[in-house]
């Protein structure tokens, strides 16, 4: 019976297209990674295996500064985003639906609906006024901007987690004379934790990847790794960018694998 279903579900040409899509999806990325190990300058002609681009990229002070800045922003922004998203998720799930809730959903998901360039321009206008008024030029603007657009990514897995949670556990805890805080600390929080960690990782990756909003919000000399790479790509192509890309790619794959394992385990 199962075989029969599979036979009828097969549509002519679909498998060929699908396999082609998978190959084409990975071929460019694979080439990028392969040529980060090229001994020569070219990104198309193989001149032998070499590790030279990695230490070369790392000895570049600009790369080091941009990496450090990217990590600082991503860490701060993802922690802020996850904290507010967890609170909002606790406030909006597991109770009767009200009008206010759809407003909260709309606000939190707003960064997903507005084109990035529009948000970037709006933030440029807003923050440039504040920069002039206060004289503060630090990373704070980037952290606030990143935290805002990372919030929906943190919110979604936390909300999913809370919605699948068994409410009777909290009721039981209350029946056993636990205080509100104790219930939260010993029942709710441990159960939410996998969702919060998953949200934190998605927020971190999202912040680390951002180009457009960073480009408009940053002050002079505040390049993150992606904006540094964008500037490099414009100038000339060197395998140094391939090496940086490969490392970023590796980081993304590691975080995503962890995310998958974390969210799959208990379902």
């Amino acid at each position: 019976m199962v075989d029969r279903t599979f036979a009828i579900a097969r549509l002519p040409g679909f498998a060929t297209i699908a396999v082609t899509v998978f190959v084409l999806l990975y071929l460019p990325i694979a080439m990028l990674v392969v040529f980060s190990f090229n001994a020569g300058d070219s990104v198309a002609i193989w001149e032998g295996f070499s590790f030279r681009w990695y230490p070369e990229a790392w000895s570049n002070e600009a790369v080091k500064a941009a990496t450090w800045r990217s990590l600082q922003i991503a860490t701060a922004a993802s922690i802020i985003a996850t904290t507010v998203a967890t609170m909002a998720a606790l406030g909006t799930t597991r109770r009767r639906q009200t009008k206010g809730q759809s407003f909260v959903y709309l606000m939190i998901n707003q960064p997903l609906m507005v084109p990035e360039i529009v948000t970037a321009v709006a933030l440029l206008i807003f923050f440039s006024t504040i920069k002039v008024a206060t004289g503060y030029q630090g990373l704070g603007y980037l952290i606030i901007a990143h935290a805002a657009f990372c919030t929906p990514f943190a919110y979604l897995p936390i909300r999913a987690r809370l919605e699948s949670m068994d409410l009777s556990l909290e009721t039981a805890s209350a029946d056993l004379y636990a205080s509100r805080w104790q219930t939260f600390r010993y029942i709710t929080l441990p159960l939410v934790m996998p969702g919060a960690i998953a949200g934190l990782m998605l927020a971190f990756v999202t912040s680390l990847d951002d180009v457009v909003i960073t480009l408009f919000v940053k002050s002079a000399g505040q390049d993150t790794l992606p904006t540094y790479m964008l500037a490099q790509i414009r100038r000339s192509v060197s395998a140094e960018v391939n090496a940086i890309s490969t490392l970023l790619l590796l980081l993304t794959v590691v975080l995503l694998t962890a995310f998958f394992l974390l969210t799959r385990k208990r379902t």
């Binding site: 279903t5 599979f6 579900a9 549509l11 002519p12 040409g13 297209i17 082609t20 899509v21 999806l25 990975y26 460019p28 990325i29 080439m31 990028l32 198309a44 985003a81 507010v84 909002a88 406030g91 909006t92 109770r95 009767r96 009200t98 909260v104 606000m107 939190i108 707003q110 960064p111 609906m113 507005v114 084109p115 990035e116 360039i117 529009v118 948000t119 321009v121 709006a122 933030l123 206008i125 807003f126 805002a148 657009f149 919030t151 919110y155 998605l202 990756v205 680390l208 990847d209 457009v212 992606p226 790479m229 964008l230 790509i233 192509v237 391939n242 890309s245 790619l249 993304t252 998958f260």
Partner: protein
């Protein structure tokens, strides 16, 4: 409405818990959009920024030009052609992503459970991979001295490298490549729920494979098709990174043109007005989508 004090306390607690998120998004996303709207009604400042004088010039300039010598009005051809190119490229990207994404999603959904998870993961990785890196990878493949041209020259199929980089074609290929996962994931979600017994029924009634696709599969997975199309169309229309890296300076899309107003163009009000236009187009697309998705959903329940 909620006279019951316990329920009211619950509502208040909900608002209190949501407050930090709302404040963050008001400062870092929604509020600035309103300020941008105000800026679109001001005069451009000489060195960028604005003069606080009420003016409708920016909105007027979105579609019209006043000749500086004799004051005649003409359509702003340059602006219109950029709008047209953006719309055309975004639609082409959406269409091509659907043509390739649908068979892919179908293929994934009809595999064994283990294989399905693996393939889904393979689609998800590019989705979360830095957009810049993926666009850059395409750049390296199609540039004149890139892998594709080097390979074709080596095989002798071509004598001269084919110029692909910095063309509309490059932007189209690049956008299809980077936004394809956004098409495949929602399509997979609906196909996964598709009852394969419907196909069996169709076969029993002597339907051809093409008829099954046209009259059984497509109507049922329509919500997924609409979601996928919207998810691809919106970022494609407002794309900035991909046209910048693959389209070069001449083949601008709206996103690049908006940036120009805040750089060399020194016309912040025009940039703000163009951003509002983009936002309105996207909002209309989203509203149409919500209407379609809900009406489609009701039909299947009824």
């Amino acid at each position: 409405m909620t006279a019951d004090p316990k329920a009211r306390a619950e509502v208040r607690r909900g608002w209190l818990l949501s407050a930090p998120a709302l404040v963050l998004l008001a400062v870092g996303a929604t509020g600035p959009l309103l300020i941008m709207l105000v800026y679109s009604f001001l005069e451009p400042g000489q060195y960028g920024n604005v003069e606080w004088v009420l003016s409708f010039k920016a909105w007027f300039n979105v579609i019209m030009n006043r000749d500086i010598f004799d004051g005649t009005l003409t359509f702003a051809d340059a602006h219109l052609s950029i709008f047209w190119r953006s719309a055309k490229l975004a639609l082409l990207t959406t269409f091509f992503a659907f043509i390739t994404g649908f068979p892919t999603a179908w293929f994934i959904a009809t595999r064994s459970p283990g294989m399905r998870t693996a393939l889904l993961f393979l689609i998800t990785i590019p989705f979360w991979t830095n957009l810049l890196i993926r666009t850059f990878a395409i750049n390296q493949i199609i540039r004149n001295e890139g892998f594709l041209n080097t390979f074709l020259l080596w095989t002798g199929i071509i004598k001269e490298p084919i110029v692909m980089l910095y063309t509309d074609f490059a932007v189209f290929i690049g956008m299809t490549y980077v936004y394809l996962p956004l098409m495949v994931l929602p399509l997979f979600a609906t196909i996964d729920r598709f009852d394969m017994r419907l196909l069996q029924a169709g076969y029993d009634l002597y339907a051809s494979r093409w008829q099954l696709l046209r009259y059984v599969i497509v109507p049922v997975v329509k919500p997924g098709i609409i979601s996928g199309s919207i998810l691809v169309f919106i970022p494609a229309l407002g794309a900035y990174v991909t046209p910048r890296i693959l389209g070069g300076g001449r083949n601008m899309m709206i996103g690049n043109f908006i940036e120009l107003q805040f750089g060399q163009g020194r016309n912040w009000p025009l940039g703000a007005a163009l951003s509002v236009v983009l936002l309105v187009i996207v909002s209309v697309a989203l509203i149409v989508y919500t209407r379609f998705a809900t009406s489609g959903g009701n039909k299947h329940h009824g």
